[in-house]
Symmetry: C2
Amino acid sequence: MEHGESGGEEVTAARAEGTNPVAAPSSAATATPTSGPAAAPSSGSAPAHSRGNVFEHTIAALLRAIRLGQYLVGDKLPAERDLAARIKVSRATLRQALSELQTAGIVTVRRGRYGGTFVTRLPSAGDDATEGSIDPAELDDAVRFRHVLETAAARIVASRTLQSAEVEALTTAESECREVFGAPGESAEKFRALDARFHLSIAELTRIPSLVAASASTRDRINALLDRIPFIETNVEHSCAQHGEILDAVLAGDPELAAELAAQHAEGTEQLLRGFLEHQ
Amino acid sequence: MEHGESGGEEVTAARAEGTNPVAAPSSAATATPTSGPAAAPSSGSAPAHSRGNVFEHTIAALLRAIRLGQYLVGDKLPAERDLAARIKVSRATLRQALSELQTAGIVTVRRGRYGGTFVTRLPSAGDDATEGSIDPAELDDAVRFRHVLETAAARIVASRTLQSAEVEALTTAESECREVFGAPGESAEKFRALDARFHLSIAELTRIPSLVAASASTRDRINALLDRIPFIETNVEHSCAQHGEILDAVLAGDPELAAELAAQHAEGTEQLLRGFLEHQ
DNA sequence: GTTCAATGGATCAAGTTCATACCATTGACT
DNA sequence: AGTCAATGGTATGAACTTGATCCATTGAAC
């Protein structure tokens, strides 16, 4: 797969704190009668860089990759020199971040040839989480953007003719996700990672790198929100069933049905989150 | 390997400047899709920080805001202290960037109370552009992602009940864009800025900040590509006509029609770009 | 058991970026 | 004419990142 790295950067830009726009304080939408100079549509803007510490961002990037199932437990991360180049940070900074993960027990490091950094456990909600209550605006944005991205991805992939290897990847992702559900005692983290893998697999088949990047970023935001509410088996079961339906529609080459099912799936998560938000 | 597939790579990503998860911004405007090394279930990756210079990213962010019509010629930018906070860079860095824009004649600065930084002209293609031929992967990614975003935005906004101020903003954006077309001698840059304003106005009405940010970033990438091909009046005329149709569908509250028209509009640009790419 | 390539471990100088003060200018208001 | 608040202009030191270089460890291959 080559991925093309994405081109996208920014998509994420806005999130966390306030989000945004470089621009104008008042958005056009909110009534700004004077059309003069002032009313500029605030196009989201990107923070010129990512601010904060490169160090912290590196930790977050690594955690995200693991949480989203890019590296499963037992997997070996790329060699430090390679990983640093990939994340685009210096090896020194990457090592600081890896050191933290090691201290947290998320990875273990072995020296020597054939050594490397291995994932030993999935990050738990506490390893990363922000405390406090859920920001309604963040929830709304993440959930709705996800709806847009996943609906579109399902529609696009369903209208493509998939190669056997691609079909294989999708079915595997779907079944692994289902299997974890069946096994009792599995962690919410593991389900989330495999769930993310399934959805990101679909996103990848669109062959639109920016869409993949945006989906990954958004999925991670949603997972962070899900970490703040109780893990309910029933929802997982329902989720897995929907995955199966989506997969079938995609393989059957029915774009509109796939899109509709993806929409319903997203709406399920949305209602789950909103339900808890309103009662917190 | 670890889990099969993938080789894994990239940690994440997000585009341009933003980012969050860790991500980073990459350059905002110029997006650099570079197809990376290997492939993994690469969930898009994000550079942990923005690499490059915060300074350069700041310039790019400012140029982008101006190119996308966030600040029109004659507009005053926010005070340095505010702008720096918005872009999330130190005032010192922002000033370096503004200094460049001033040297380039894009903004002028006046001291004292009621002074500030004012936009004096739109950046021309050369102020920013990357030389060389168009990267097919970048074009494909930008154009297809735009298709996804704008189609979804049109559908969403058409299904909302707009407030009078919102309708006003849209119709104004549409007509201003058309007027510029009518006036002879207007620059491609001005049309692009107003064109972007129209589309971003629609994106804003979705009330999904992440969608707005992604649309702005993608629009800028496409504008950068358009800067590399001849500016054709006929296309502008066609574009304006389509804007009118999209606006009508949105105001009429016809989601599917609005989405279809937005799709056609995006496809027009796509074909225009691909046509020149294949002949370059 | 020796060799060797891949990989983690460590250090240091140089360049960036930030944060915080404080100064200078301007023009509306009184 | 004087006042004053908002805004740009300038300076300094701390903190962070990088990039380059060299060291240490490991286990497969010979």
